[in-house]
């Protein structure tokens, strides 16, 4: 069970229609790869975020599958075009079944 997981998102508050904007996301997470061993030699079970998605008004913007080699606190930066006012919804899926969500509204 990952503790202290906290998503952070940066989206501009407004944009003009059709404009490309930069979105930055960061989530604090240990991203335990499953390859490491603890001090007693027992394997530490894998605990990573395996999927990240971003949707805008129900339409998918990015859908990322993540693998164990990704380092701690995964950061994504991507661009999106904003056709209309609405809401970006961000979702992270943890190995342990937890789902972390964040949303940011944008005006045109």
């Amino acid at each position: 069970m990952a503790s202290g997981v906290k998503p952070r998102v940066k989206v501009p508050g407004s944009a003009s229609a059709g404009e490309g904007i930069v979105i930055k996301t960061l989530i604090s997470h240990p991203m335990e790869s499953g390859q490491r061993k603890d001090s007693d030699g027992n394997p530490i079970p894998r605990s990573i975020i395996n999927r990240f998605t971003c949707d805008f008004n129900g339409q998918n913007v990015v859908d990322v599958k993540m693998e164990p080699a990704i380092s701690t606190n995964p950061y994504f930066e991507f661009e999106a075009t904003v056709p209309e006012a609405g809401e970006f919804k961000f979702t992270w899926y943890d190995d342990d079944g937890s789902v972390y969500e964040d949303a940011k509204a944008i005006t045109v």
Binding site: K6, R8, S28, Y75
Partner: protein, 283 residues
């Protein structure tokens, strides 16, 4: 060809360190638009050291690393500031208090980081920020002290540093702290370990040069606690001191020891005039 040219240059640099010293870039740092002082005239007490101007370690890092610090969202150190924000409001200990019970918001810590380490009249000692945090925790909150260079301590120092971001470091070196300051200065120039290196050998005589693959900075601590890409966490001043002394192949002083406190005071005073940058991003 290029390799040979580089080697020749390196050879020259070794034979004439003063001539080739520098190596820092001329970029300017603005964090979220707020201008930082990363280069300024050396404080008066550094006359005769040959170090002028003083420069933040930021100048000695690659552009990618530099730009991470220019935006608080891109700065991975800010994650720990968020964590410390939670700790700030968490009630702990027998007195049923949190940091917020006495100090309200962390904004009340504005300017604090810039003047530490400083003299505490009541206790009759020089106190670092970490010592003050632990004093609050044990005496005011009745909570357990943080381990001196632990993650929660580094995070709390980062939260307090952020409140002073952009303010010039202004550590007092006279009056009651003078004795400790002198002790710190002596440590700075004392060679340690099998390699017989003092702080000054690298950070005063050779800043701007490379020690193997590492670009030597002036060893300024205005950016601490520092998020290092190599270990993906915040690093404290004393943690860094320990690493440096260890690299000279010496037995190190312990984080929080009187020796390191004195050294922190002295090194901090060498950065008087630079902006508080903490948490900075370094490699």
């Amino acid at each position: 060809m290029k390799y040979k040219a580089m080697t020749a240059l390196a050879a020259l640099a070794i034979s004439a360190p003063v001539l080739f010293a520098g190596g820092a870039d001329d970029d300017t740092l603005a964090i979220d638009g707020q201008e930082m002082i990363t280069k300024t005239a050396a404080p008066a007490h550094m006359e005769g050291t040959g170090v002028d101007p003083i420069m933040s370690g930021w100048h000695f890092r690659e552009d990618d690393t530099q730009s991470m610090q220019a935006d608080t969202f891109d700065n991975p150190g800010m994650i720990f500031v968020d964590q410390a924000m939670d700790a700030w409001n968490t009630v702990e200990g027998s007195a049923d208090k949190s940091c917020a019970s006495c100090h309200e918001g962390p904004e009340s810590m504005e300017g604090v980081r810039a003047v530490y380490p400083k003299w505490n009249e009541e206790a009759g000692e020089v106190r670092t920020l970490a010592m003050q945090i632990n004093d609050c925790r044990t005496n005011q909150m009745g909570a357990e002290a943080y381990k001196y260079d632990s993650a929660p301590m580094a995070a709390m120092e980062a939260l307090i540093s952020v409140q002073s971001r952009g303010m010039p470091v202004n550590v007092a070196i006279d009056g009651p702290v003078a004795e400790t300051w002198e002790q710190g200065k002596e440590l700075y120039y004392t060679r340690t370990g099998q390699l017989e290196l003092s702080c000054a050998n690298c950070h005063e005589d050779n800043y701007g040069n490379y020690i193997r693959a590492d670009h030597l900075s002036q060893g300024q601590i205005n950016g601490f606690p520092t998020y290092r890409l190599k270990n993906a966490k915040l690093n404290t001043v004393h943690g860094r001191f320990k690493g440096c002394v260890r690299d000279t192949r010496a037995e190190t002083y312990a984080p929080g020891s009187p020796e390191f406190v004195a050294l922190e005071l002295y090194v901090a005073s060498r950065g008087n005039g630079l902006s508080v940058e903490g948490p900075s991003v370094r490699n």
